[in-house]
Structure formats: C-alpha cells, structure tokens
C-alpha cells in the first residue's frame, strides 16, 4: 500500500490504515461467526471510532440498510451527543470497510462529504467505486463531492468470508437463490 494519502487536512499513514482495516476485518469475522453478512465498517474521526455498521437489511426489512448507511447514522448520533456539527465531522472522517461500497452507498458517502474510503475487496455486482459505476469520482450535480478510494487491503480474506457466508446460508439452494442472496452487500 502507498505510504500516505491526503484526507482533507489530515494525512493518513499506512500503518494507521492497516490497523483500522484489521479492525474492520475482525468485525466482518465476528459477523460471519454470528451468521450475519460478513462486512466490517468503521468511521474514524480524530483517531477515534465514532460509528460502526453492520448490515441490517433483515432486521429492518429495508433493503437499503447496508453497513455504510447504518454507520453514517451512528456518526450523526455521535455528533448530536457531542454537540458537533455533522458536516464538519464528516469532512474529517475516514471510512474503513471490508467490501467496496455499492452504488447507493457511494452516492450516500458523497452526499455526506466523506473525503476518503479505504476498502478491501471489489464489489463486482454493485460496486459504486469503479466496479459497476464510478460514483466515487464522477462529476455529478447536487450529489455531494467526489471522494478518494484506497482499495485492496486484505481483499482475499474479505472475498473468502463472503463466499463462506453464501455457502453456509444456502447449502442446498438452487443457483438462482444463491445469486439473490448476494444482493445484501
């Protein structure tokens, strides 16, 4: 991984990035152990985790409750508790997530004006940071601002966990159902 990347006014160093990504991978492992979608997602501000997210599609019966959306809500709550301006906080927050954000989440991250997203594996089906569409860097009207991406950290493990999850969930499922399952990331 490259030595450093600018995030707003802050500089993110490689060791720091790797340490947070290790935490995200641990979260994904924990989720997998609980039979949940193995995606880990952390929002880090001033070297502090101010938001975490896991996929809550099943609990809420709302197909948009991806880990990133949940984590954004946690950051907003944190801002209210700490009497901080969310806009100012998001501008200096880095998202660490084990899988490339989908098109929807990439647009949401832009609108929150998060400057940097560090992620593990590609999201071949829905990825919004280059895999399907490049929402992260596109020129878009009234849809927040582009953000920088650092992909690829421990991506093999992130992919392997997703594969394991789909195998566990549908040991005998016909192919069509397995494919449908993949839409939860």
């Amino acid at each position: 991984m490259e030595a450093a990347a600018a995030a707003g006014e802050r500089v993110v160093f490689a060791e720091e990035t790797e340490a947070w990504m290790d935490r995200a991978i641990d979260m994904a492992k924990e989720a997998l152990g609980n039979g949940e979608v193995p995606v880990g997602c952390l929002m880090v501000y001033n070297n502090e985790i101010i938001g975490k997210g896991k996929n809550e599609v099943n609990e809420t019966k709302n197909a948009t409750r991806h880990a990133e959306m949940v984590a954004i809500d946690e950051v907003i709550d944190w801002c209210h508790q700490h009497k901080k301006d969310p806009e100012e906080v998001f501008r200096h927050t880095v998202l660490y997530v084990t899988v490339e954000p989908c098109i929807m989440c990439a647009a949401a991250l832009r609108m929150m004006k998060i400057p940097l997203v560090v992620y593990g594996c590609q999201n071949e089906r829905f990825g919004g940071c280059g895999s399907v569409l490049n929402i992260s860097s596109a020129t878009l009207t009234d849809t927040g601002e582009p953000f920088q991406c650092i992909p690829g950290y421990r991506s093999e493990e992130a992919v392997e966990m997703l594969k394991t999850f789909y195998r566990q969930e549908n040991p005998n499922a016909p192919k069509s159902k397995v494919r449908k399952k993949e839409c939860v990331i």
Binding site: N62, A63, I76, C102, M104, M111, M112, T143
Partner: protein, 344 residues
C-alpha cells in the same frame, strides 16, 4: 403515523385536465441513444447474375456473425443504373487498417473468391447494433439496410398507448397524493418532494411520504422515506416519523411476518409501483434496485437524476434487477413544487 387500513383516501378537488400531461417511457441507454456506426468495405455488384454466388463466397470468408442485423446486399435503386446492387465485404478494422482503401486482391488474398462481377471496393459506414426502436431503425436504415424485430410494447409505450384512460386516471390520482405529501412536507420546512408506493395488484396505497433530509436524517430523500415506510408497514423500518404527519403507511393486512420472499429475504417492494414527484438521484435510484421495485412513475426531471438524465440505473444489464420507468405524470404541477422551497 399509521394509516387507518379502511380509511378512504381524501378525494382531491383538482381541476381535471387543467394541464395536459403524457406518460413517457424512460428506455434503457441503448434504446435511447442514436445509431453508432462502424466502417466496412463494400463493393458494387456489376453483374446481378453473380450476386448470389458472390454473397455465398464472401460470407464464407468474412461472416457477419456478430452483426446479424446487417443485410449483406443493398439495392441502389435507380440512382446509379451502372450497378444496381452493393454488398458488404468485411469490416474495415483489425488487420485491414481503418480508413485505408484496399483492392479486391488485398481483401481476398487467398484466392478463394472468384471476383468476377465485383467492382472496386469502397469504404462506407454501417450501424454497429441492431435497432431496438422504430426511431433507431429509421436512422440505421438510412445508412445501410438492417433487419428490425420490433418490440410492440416499446412501440406502444412510445406512442403513448400503453395505458388505458382508467389506468391514466389512477396514475394521476397517485401522483396527486405524492404532490400533496410534498406540499405537507414543505409546510414543515422540508424539500418539496413527495413519494407514494402502490401495490398495483390491489390498487392499495401502501405508503405516502415526503423528503425528510432537512428533518430526520440527511439521507432521507422522499424515495428512501417511502422504502422505509413500506418496511414499517411490514413490522420493520429504521426511522420513526411521528413528527411528520405527511409520512404514513398501511399496516400489512396479512400480519407482520409475511414480508419474506420464498428465499427468506425482505425484498419488500417486489411487485410494487413508486410515484415520485421528481426523478430520483443515484442513491435513491439504486435503493429502488435493492428494494426490487417493479415500476417507477415520476413527474419532473432533475439535473441530478439517475434514470433518464444520467446512468439509466433502472435498466442496466450489469445490475441484478431492472424496473420500468415512466416520466411526465402531472409534469407541470410536479415542476411547480420547486417554487415551494421554504427559505431557511
């Protein structure tokens, strides 16, 4: 707030036919775009009697397998009686450098072709893709003859005949509900955008909502609100809307636990229609893919829209769900909503 399941929706006293509107289908990117051309080598057929033999021999050497819509031969009509027919020889790319003129012996070096009856090759432009709409067909055919398998449903939709008058009345009344929701939201300082979810199988309105980005949460655009309200109606939901009476849902009549599909997953908008006063953004358009919405009807276009304006997210082959989109429903009144924005 919860809707009374048996409550009759308030009839709106809108002047009927005040401003005319049309349902316009929003087709896929491929269906909406103009014709793309590629260069080919063609040659006049000087002797008509040689034509069928030449077609057979040239097709064996240079098949048009990837371009089954292209007719090999075209008639020149009476424009130039010296050679009534012209035929495509091969693509002018790859090993034939694009744009450079070639002789017959250069194009057919193997000697497998008996060139008698063929004139001097020339370069011309032909359509790369098969035409999907009548408009594309007419444009394509002006360059070179192509075959066209007309999709009757698309033609019908484009001519405005897909919906019956009674269906149009239903579209209008549902969009009126979305407009009212937008107005109610605007009175509470919200962006004047409204949304409605309807089950077309029963005609029931399942959720009515307005934009809450300036209230509950910055990502609660009207479409996101309505997706969540439908989830609330199924016993789920991520947000509470008690401060916003313009946001309401119908509690699922079949109980709270019937939302899972055959595979146990909550694709709760499967089979449903969403009405939006304006074209959704990238986030909302993709949220509707994740939610497996069936059809989207919107009124006003938006510069940040992700359906007709950019991306065509509803009809991308590389996503696992597609939905139909129609725009233009009560377009003028939906456009007028923008003036309701409350200065902060």
């Amino acid at each position: 707030m919860l809707m009374e399941p048996d409550c009759k929706r308030q009839k709106t006293e809108e002047p009927r036919g005040a401003s005319p509107w049309q349902v316009v289908p929003v087709l896929s990117e491929r269906e909406s775009q103009g014709v793309t051309l590629m260069p080919v080598y063609a040659a006049p057929v000087l002797d008509k009697k040689e034509a069928s033999r030449l077609v057979k021999e040239v097709s064996a050497i240079y098949p048009l397998g990837d371009y089954p819509h292209l007719k090999r031969v075209r008639a020149r009509g009476s424009v130039d009686s010296s050679h009534p027919l012209e035929m495509i020889l091969c693509r002018a790319s790859g090993r034939h450098q694009q744009g450079a003129l070639r002789t017959l012996s250069e194009l057919f070096p193997s000697g497998q072709l008996d060139p008698s009856g063929l004139g001097t090759p020339f370069l011309t432009q032909v359509p790369v893709y098969p035409p999907l709409t009548r408009r594309q067909y007419e444009e394509a055919a002006s360059h070179w003859p192509v075959s066209f398998h007309e999709n009757k449903r698309i033609t019908q939709a484009l001519s405005g005949c897909l919906f019956t008058p009674s269906e149009k009345t239903a579209l209008q009344s549902h969009m009126e509900l979305a407009i009212q929701a937008a107005q109610r939201g605007a009175r509470q300082g919200m962006k004047p955008v409204g949304a409605v979810v309807v089950d077309p199988a029963t005609g029931r309105v399942l959720a009515v909502g307005h934009d809450c980005r300036d209230g509950i949460n910055p990502l609660l655009h009207a479409a996101m609100v309505c997706i969540d309200l439908v989830a609330c109606g199924q016993g789920g939901g991520a947000y509470r809307y008690q401060d916003y009476p313009g946001c309401s849902f119908l509690l699922s009549a079949n109980g709270l636990d019937q939302s899972s599909g055959a595979d146990g997953l909550p694709y709760i908008c499967t089979g449903y229609d969403m009405y939006l006063t304006r074209e959704p953004c990238v986030m909302c358009a993709m949220a509707l893919v994740h939610s497996r919405i069936e059809r989207v009807f919107y009124g006003a276009p938006s510069p940040h829209g992700a359906l007709a304006t950019k991306y065509h997210i509803h009809s991308r082959k590389d996503l696992n769900h597609r939905y139909e989109v129609y725009r233009g429903i009560l377009e003028d009144r939906c456009c007028d909503l923008a003036h309701l924005s409350v200065p902060k």
